[in-house]
């Protein structure tokens, strides 16, 4: 198993500032994005991402490639930190909190509609059991392979697929109208 991060982790563990900087550039945006989707809170997502890297710096001097890819280990740490925070609080009433809608050119009406959709999808994701949500996060958003995602969650590929399928079924039911709108947009069919 080739770990593309192994050299950087080893060097960062030995005190190499450039290696540390390269790891941050490569992984920090994904860690922040994961935290935002899991927690619906920008500030908490940054806290989680920072905590992930503090653990990386702590563990890097002892890092031994082979047991698990660095990326897998990192995602596992991030998800566990999110689980801890989710357990400590109820989901915020506004699942859209902290989200950035990258649509600066849209009209006010379109922007409002886009925010509504994002909020609705966020709320539907938040309703999923943690493991289903994590499986979707890893495969759909983080774009890990099924094997890497299963390793991250410490389950078999079949169990991962079961989590994904159940999660997607629940989302499909909860988001039927949003999905229909988006298909309508893509087809050029006007929305009602």
């Amino acid at each position: 198993m080739i770990d593309p991060d192994a050299d950087l982790v080893r060097s960062a563990g030995a005190g190499d500032a450039q290696a540390a900087s390269a790891l941050v550039r490569r992984h920090l945006p994904r860690m922040v994005a994961l935290g935002r989707r899991m927690l619906n809170d920008a500030a908490e997502a940054e806290d989680v991402a920072q905590e992930v890297f503090l653990r990386v710096w702590r563990e890097a001097p002892r890092w031994k490639p082979g047991a698990a890819k660095f990326e897998t280990w990192m995602h596992r740490v991030a998800l566990n930190l999110c689980y801890d925070r989710l357990r400590r609080r109820r989901e915020k009433s506004d699942p859209d909190a902290g989200l950035y809608v990258a649509d600066g050119a849209a009209s006010a009406g379109d922007a409002w509609l886009a925010r509504q959709r994002v909020a609705k999808v966020g709320a539907a994701l938040a309703q999923l059991p943690e493991r289903q949500r994590s499986a979707i996060e890893l495969v759909h958003f983080q774009e890990l392979t099924n094997i890497a995602a299963a390793e991250t969650l410490e389950i078999s590929v079949e169990a991962l697929e079961s989590l994904l399928a159940r999660g997607r079924r629940a989302l499909k039911a909860a988001l039927a109208d949003v999905a229909q709108d988006l298909i309508g947009d893509a087809d050029g069919v006007p929305r009602v």
């Binding site: 900087s21 550039r25 922040v32 920072q50 959709r117 958003f141 949003v178």
Partner: protein
């Protein structure tokens, strides 16, 4: 690849074959092409859900301050490692210095107490001009 397997993987991974398992991607694409008409509905439903999920892609820039905080933590950790080594070197120097001082003291010539006493008062008394009024 048969319809049952296709539906199973579609339910799990969605309509984008790039997310499907490495070993099944090509077979899935071929199956979809061969059965396009009968798969239209299920693929469209899966694509719709993928698109809905796509709205949650967070494209917020990572704050520079956060990167700076994280890299400062790395520097501190590295500094702590250096401090440990520096402390060990300092301790070694201290031990060497004490040993050298102790050994040097033993080797240095020892003058009589009387000589020390005389030399201690020699200069002040020599400078004193004896003017007492």
């Amino acid at each position: 690849m048969d319809r049952q397997r296709f539906d199973y993987l579609l339910e799990a991974y969605g309509a984008d074959f790039a997310r499907w398992p490495d070993g099944e991607r090509e077979a899935a694409a071929a199956f979809a092409a061969a059965h396009a008409a009968e798969l239209t509905e299920v693929l469209q439903a899966a694509r719709a859900l993928d698109a809905a999920l796509g709205t949650r892609r967070v494209e917020a820039p990572t704050p520079d301050l956060l990167s700076a905080r994280i890299l400062a933590a790395h520097k501190r950790q590295r500094g702590a490692g250096l401090d440990w080594r520096a402390a060990a070197a300092l301790a070694a120097c201290a031990v060497f210095g004490v040993a050298l001082g102790y050994g040097g003291g033993l080797l240095a010539p020892v003058a009589d107490d009387g000589d020390y006493f005389a030399s201690a008062f020699e200069t002040p008394f020599a400078d004193y001009d004896g003017d007492e009024g």
